[in-house]
Subunit: 160 residues, 2 copies
């Protein structure tokens, strides 16, 4: 099958399938005489694997490792688990960061009248507030109301 079918069958975009080939996450697909990429059902399985891994937020680098382990019948499950727990640790760190931001901003917003007058604790905080540590608490418990919005405006990088 061509890339369109493979993409549809895996849930990825054709664009991303090409991209994954270019960064060598997947091997170079075979070509027809006209240069069209050719995929097998097995290839689609690999692409689905990748899509699911991306849904769990795994980075391309980790997915590379996982695909390698997946295809190795002798793999120690310990290695797979390690990749997973590494990612869980990063997710936890990120979650803590975002929760701290949200809680701080939510407090400020709560204290803001939100009326036609100019006085505003949010601006006062930004103007000269010292960002302080937020008292501990389980992250999960704070997560309440949903919302299917879009991007969060990314935070300062210091992480890696």
């Amino acid at each position: 099958m061509n890339i369109g079918q493979a993409a549809a069958g895996s849930g990825l975009s054709a664009k991303m399938v090409r991209h994954y080939e270019s960064i060598r996450l997947i091997p170079r697909a075979g070509r027809t005489e006209a240069g069209y990429r050719v995929y097998s059902a097995k290839d689609v399985n690999t692409l689905r694997f990748i899509r699911r891994a991306r849904e769990l937020g795994l980075s391309i680098e980790r997915i590379k490792r996982l695909v390698g382990l997946w295809q190795d019948r002798e793999r120690p499950s310990a290695e797979v688990k390690r990749v997973a727990t590494e990612h869980v640790a990063e997710l936890d760190a990120k979650i803590l960061e975002l929760v701290a931001m949200r809680d701080a901003l939510q407090e400020l917003a709560k204290a803001c009248h939100g009326d036609p007058r100019p006085d505003c604790p949010i601006l006062r905080d930004l103007e000269s507030g010292a960002r302080a540590a937020i008292p501990g608490g389980s992250v999960t418990e704070h997560v309440s109301h949903p919302r299917r919005s879009t991007a969060v405006g990314a935070a300062p990088r210091h992480t890696a």
Copy 2:
């Protein structure tokens, strides 16, 4: 003062101060005859405001709005509050996404022996698992399109 002093005084890098100028988050700084940027204490205050806003994860676009409101003595606090609550909503959405990922992966990891044998529920899930409800957790079903961020491996995009 020069950019180095302004950067140090605001907690930003000189690089970012130049960047913020280039994207017009701040006005073009005055120059010496040699072309060096010149900053006043007031400029540094603005830079500090920006740094704190970034610490709260606000995007440059929202910070632009906030800086504008901050400098407008007639601003309605309701507008400031709106910017803040918009961001809180996005943070909440992002947090939910990450928590869903973390919980799912954590469950899988917990079920993985992590020994020298190849059998592994994590790979089995990726191989053909539908992302489903996590026991004990409220976050479930389709983990839709996340986004990128700091340390975490980022997820699919759709948003912007």
